[in-house]
């Protein structure tokens, strides 16, 4: 094991969730092997503002060709914490998403909804000292996918969080409060715990909205914490 708390398999999806058909051929069949004490990496890559461009966090602007993208303008914000509720500062948060019609700007997406020339669907930022992050973007549309003959993904934004060490690495998806497609989606339902699914749901945050500009949604993220003994030993050694 690493110096991080063990993964919580009550919360995390198992590899094989047959209702999400692609897992049937891509889920390892053998159980994971627990890495011996002290052998797992403790650190991970570190990023600085020099790695990012000035509009990387603003998906409403970073792919503009001849005007603003079409869709419901939103501020997406929240904090990245660890399980001890400590902010994970300076960590890289990356997002990607479909446009307002549910179409991705990707050569393998052939959905009939049109591309938006002014929307790329890719953003990234570094968390501040309090673990906070902010993106300006638009609310993506739901779209069909070939899991069954009538499968629709709820509107979602993919979120990648680097964390402070390789074992904290996480990719997830956030959904929007009240979306009736959430309980119908086998990707969402791969998560075994209803409260964990609830925590993947971004909440309307009217207080953070910009009047006459955009609504706001809040999505907080919790990464694995450091195991107490190791953390305290490190503090003593500092």
């Amino acid at each position: 094991m690493s110096g991080f708390r063990a993964r919580d398999w009550q919360v995390q999806p198992p590899a094989l969730t047959p209702d999400y058909k692609t897992t049937r051929l891509r889920a390892p069949s053998a159980p994971l092997i627990t890495m011996p004490e002290g052998c797992a990496p403790e650190s991970g890559p570190v990023f600085g503002q020099g790695d990012l461009g000035p509009l990387d966090h603003d998906l409403l602007q970073n792919h503009v060709q001849d005007g603003a993208p079409i869709g419901e303008r939103i501020l997406l914000h929240g904090r990245v914490l660890d399980q001890e509720a400590r902010p994970v500062a300076g960590t890289l948060v990356e997002v990607w998403q479909a446009n307002a019609g549910g179409r991705y700007r990707h050569r393998n997406d052939r959905y009939l909804a049109p591309l938006d020339p002014n929307f790329g669907g890719c953003g990234r930022t570094l968390t501040d000292d309090a673990g906070g992050y902010r993106f300006h973007t638009l609310r993506p549309g739901p779209y069909p996918w070939p899991n069954s003959d009538n499968s629709w993904r709820p509107a979602h934004i993919h979120v990648s969080i680097m964390g402070s060490g390789f074992p904290q690495r996480l990719i997830t998806q956030l959904y929007f409060e009240g979306d009736p497609l959430i309980p119908l989606c086998p990707i969402v339902q791969a998560v075994p715990d209803a409260s964990a699914i609830d925590r993947l749901t971004a909440r309307l945050d009217l207080a953070a909205a910009s009047p006459f500009d955009c609504l706001a949604y809040r999505f907080d993220i919790v990464l694995r914490g450091r195991r107490a003994s190791l953390f305290e030993n490190k503090l003593e050694g500092m």
């Binding site: 890559p45 001890e84 790329g120 998806q173 990464l223 914490g225």
Partner: protein, 193 residues
């Protein structure tokens, strides 16, 4: 003081369009963001230059053509980025996407050194459509026999045939092959780290 910890955020698959966010240079964005993770070890970093390549296979033995891998490794002296003495040009981290048609991926780096008692190795993290939570594995080098025999992680794998799934094969000087099998015969060992 003993507060109960917060619960982790659940993982969700990276999906088939992971490239838009994490490998924008190949997603065909008209105005891609500057890619991250393209240089694991800059040209002035000392060490043996190597190329690692492979294919990820699914349970039907078909190449996984929409996977993305992340790489985390030590330098030739066994130091990770940020450790004392590590060259600033050594990032030790990279990203690589499988080819959309063949599934082949490759990256260039320097061969890592031993980290303490551990044999030279590269940590890999794999995400793709159909993978609900990223898979951690490790690449070792088949020409490091002595170091591999003493490595505690390889020792911890209960079956030597399974440990062999973690071994990159030297194809020629400076080129290693590492295929990953998600399922079935020869299934690669994945770790809970």
């Amino acid at each position: 003081m003993a507060k109960s910890p917060l619960l982790e955020t659940a993982s969700q698959t990276a999906g088939p369009y992971v490239h838009i966010g994490l490998a924008p240079e190949i997603a065909e964005l008209t105005k891609p963001l500057t890619p991250l993770g393209q240089s694991i070890a800059g040209p002035r970093v000392s060490g043996e230059r190597i190329l690692v390549r492979g294919i990820i296979f699914d349970g039907a033995q078909d190449p996984v053509t929409d996977a993305m891998l992340e790489i985390w490794q030590a330098d030739a002296e066994g130091r990770h980025a940020g450790d004392d003495g590590c060259a600033p040009e050594f990032r030790g981290w990279g990203r690589v996407a499988a080819d959309f048609d063949t599934g082949l991926w490759h990256f260039e780096t320097i061969k890592p050194g031993r980290v303490g008692a551990r044999a030279p190795h590269i940590a890999l993290w794999i995400v793709a459509r159909g993978i609900n939570i990223g898979l951690h594995t490790r690449l070792y080098f088949d020409d490091e026999t002595e170091a591999n025999e003493a490595d505690p992680v390889l020792q911890s794998v209960p079956d030597s045939r399974k440990a062999a799934t973690l071994m990159a094969q030297k194809e020629r000087d400076g080129v290693y092959r590492f295929d990953i099998r998600l399922q079935g015969p020869g299934e690669t060992v994945f770790f809970d780290i």
